[in-house]
């Protein structure tokens, strides 16, 4: 008997790194926002950010945290503001513990790296930096617009390389079977910024593009490889270390499409199963290691958890009501509906919100006029599933 089992799906962007060498750069080598700029990127939930050397993905930031959602004065000292303001910074250093390898050659200097970010709302962006300017090192603003004095933030957008669960997952004798859909990687919608772009700080300085990196040509080399799997703790960013992943042998069509995958479910209740799509960016494969992975899907434990709006909050100010919530699983979700509830008028549908989690997690925020509520002070978010069933969130007052 088929049974939907995806307790949660958490899609992240990651690149499997190679052997866990964990020999980072010796001298500090900055990686991050260093000119008071940031990414415009949903930050009401977990953010996944990851950097790796373009021609050697085993050199990368691995599972360590390099992004900041809020200023803390210690690890996050830049312009990340506060949680929920959609300002995200990268603040790290290639010399930090946990980073695998160093993208700097002692004799030839920095090598080009790729930074991939997936925001809490499921959107994302990619940035490529040459590391060629010894003064900048891997300053993110080198790839952001610059007007001669100020670096402007860049925004995340749809992350086309994320896999999408297209149907209900099913379990049988302790294994899970599901279908993943992969978009064509050659026609991505993901925002992609490079320090070879015009009107950037890199272009202003004229020091970051000696390799004439062509991001469009780079993407034309992209094609999928196999689906990989890994069992790791639920609810966390999966460790991208290559040795933690195994090849399912299931080949993804080079330009995208649907694939059926199956695997044994974890036996520990705290573990989840992750699937990831291998993306071949045109570099030689390191024996026994995958190419980069452009997204993973986290499959939950043995219990059923239908898509539901969690962490619902509502607050009013200046005649407006702001409602926010998050999801951990959007399998089979058709739409969210925001409803006002009052004893006298019953339910009042206020607005509909399309899911953005690609089957996985996402966070949402909508602002409505106080008058829309017709005096009601209670709100819920209803999940309308593709089979017509409904799942309501807990009600909150404002």
């Amino acid at each position: 008997m088929r049974k939907a089992i995806l307790a949660s799906i958490f899609i992240v962007v990651a690149v499997l790194s190679g052997a866990p060498v964990y020999a980072s750069c010796g001298p500090p080598t900055a990686l991050g926002h260093l000119n008071d700029s940031y990414f415009i990127c949903g930050d009401s939930g977990p953010i996944v950010a990851y950097a790796y050397e373009l021609d050697a993905p085993s050199v990368g930031t691995g599972p360590i945290k390099i992004s900041c959602s809020a200023f803390d004065g210690v690890l996050c000292t830049g312009s990340s503001g506060v949680v929920g303001d959609n300002k995200v910074t990268i603040e790290s250093d290639w010399s930090n513990v946990g980073i695998s390898g160093c993208p700097v050659d002692p004799s030839t200097g920095g090598k080009r790296v790729m930074l991939v970010v997936q925001c809490a709302d499921g959107q994302g962006l990619m940035v490529s930096l040459s590391g060629h300017d010894g003064g900048l090192a891997y300053t993110i603003e080198a790839a952001q617009p610059f007007d001669g004095s100020v670096s402007s933030p860049v925004a995340a957008g749809p992350l086309s390389t994320r896999p999408k669960v297209t149907g209900s997952a099913a379990t049988s004798a302790g294994s899970v079977n599901l279908t993943l859909h992969f978009e064509n990687p050659k026609s991505p919608t993901t925002p992609f910024y490079s320090d070879c772009d015009a009107n950037t700080l890199g272009a202003f300085l004229g020091t970051t593009c000696p390799d004439a990196f062509d991001k469009n040509a780079f993407l034309t080399r992209a094609q999928y490889g196999n689906v990989w799997k890994s069992t790791q703790a639920c609810g966390n960013t999966p460790d991208p270390t290559a040795t933690k992943w195994t090849d399912t042998g299931v080949l993804i069509p080079a330009t995208g499409g649907d694939v059926a995958v199956s695997a044994l479910l974890p036996t520990a209740v705290t573990d989840c199963l992750y699937f990831g799509g291998e993306l071949n960016l045109g570099f030689p494969r390191v024996t026994g290691q995958p190419f980069g992975i452009a997204g993973t899907v986290q499959v939950g434990g043995q219990t059923v958890a239908p898509p539901k709006a969690d962490n619902l909050k509502a607050s009013s100010a200046a005649g407006k009501v702001t409602i926010s919530w998050s999801s951990t699983n959007e399998i089979g979700l058709g739409v969210f509906k925001v409803l006002a509830i009052s004893k006298s008028k019953g339910e009042l549908e206020l607005t509909s919100v399309s899911p953005r989690g690609n089957g996985g997690s996402a966070s949402y925020s909508v602002t409505l006029g106080m008058g829309d509520f017709k005096g009601a002070k209670t709100v819920i978010v209803r999940s309308i599933l593709t089979d017509g069933s409904k799942v309501d969130s807990a009600a909150v007052n404002f």
Binding site: P28, T29, D36, G73, D93, G131, G134, G135, D239
Partner: protein, 275 residues
């Protein structure tokens, strides 16, 4: 032997005094205030250690934050900005602040006696307003890229103890005895510790690395404590292991920070010896 040491001490005192006077018109007042004219060697075009100016700041100083240091000693605060870096020896994590940014104003300078790294482009010898990278990148021939000069002020805290931690590389392997356990710095990762860039007092009694080893009680038997200075001019790291003749042959440089890798255990706090 004692006679030799006494002689060396006298020479050291004179040398320090001479350097201070020559370098920056320093007035050593009763409260031991310092004013040091310090050369910031320029970075190279590529990422390497050239231009890694590991700099000692007096323990009492008026700067407060990286941004304060930038603005008050005149580091380059518009693009191409100077960069100040500190390393927390509790995690070996580096924190960077670019001069002229709001972020730099929010990053405090170390208070544990550790030095900071300053990286900044130089200026051309034939055009003081033209920024350049070493050796002459960006300069019109025959100009070369030369150091910029900053004046660092402050005074010493004669009671501040300094406590280098045991040096641990960190990572995913089973950590050696005395190093942080796995998971300390994230899932399956042990923190690195003990990457300590010692802020050498300007009036230190130590002339050589060996002197510093002795005065600080660093480990001079195998596995020895390793001291390192980076010559910002050419990026070369010069090591001296405590208890070796090599350490006695490496002089400390006024204003420069020295890296201490204590190999045995967290070092018992010591108060740096000074005149």
């Amino acid at each position: 032997m004692l006679k030799v040491r006494t002689a060396r001490l006298s020479v050291a005192v004179l040398a320090v005094a001479a350097i201070i006077v020559v370098a920056g018109s320093v007035a050593i007042a009763s409260n031991m205030g310092f004013k040091l004219n310090f050369a910031i060697q320029p970075t190279a075009s590529l990422i390497n250690a050239i231009g890694d100016n590991w700099t000692s700041i007096p323990y009492h100083n008026p700067y407060g934050t990286m941004g304060g240091l930038c603005s008050q000693i005149g580091l380059q605060s518009v693009i191409p900005r100077a960069r100040v870096t500190k390393v927390d020896q509790s995690t070996n994590a580096a924190t960077n602040g670019d001069c002229g940014t709001a972020a730099a104003n929010s990053i405090p300078l170390p208070l544990d006696g550790s030095a900071v790294r300053i990286r900044q482009r130089g200026v051309c010898s034939n055009s003081a307003t033209t920024f350049c990278n070493a050796p002459a990148v960006g300069c019109v021939s025959p100009g070369t890229c030369v150091a910029t000069s900053v004046i660092i002020v402050g005074s010493h805290d004669p009671v501040l103890p300094v406590a280098p931690k045991k040096f641990c590389a960190g990572g995913t392997g089973a950590p050696p005895a005395g190093c942080p356990a796995l998971g300390t710095c994230g899932a399956g990762i042990a923190c690195g510790t003990g990457e300590f860039w010692f802020e050498v007092p300007y009036h230190t009694t130590a002339v050589t690395m060996a002197d510093l080893c002795l005065s600080a009680g660093l480990t001079s038997t195998i596995p020895r404590t390793r001291l390192t200075r980076v010559r910002a001019l050419d990026g070369v790291a010069v090591n001296g292991d405590c208890g070796t003749a090599a350490a006695a042959a490496v002089n400390l440089v006024l204003g420069e920070g020295v890296r201490i890798h204590e190999t045995n255990a967290n070092k018992t706090p010591f108060v740096p010896a000074h005149f």
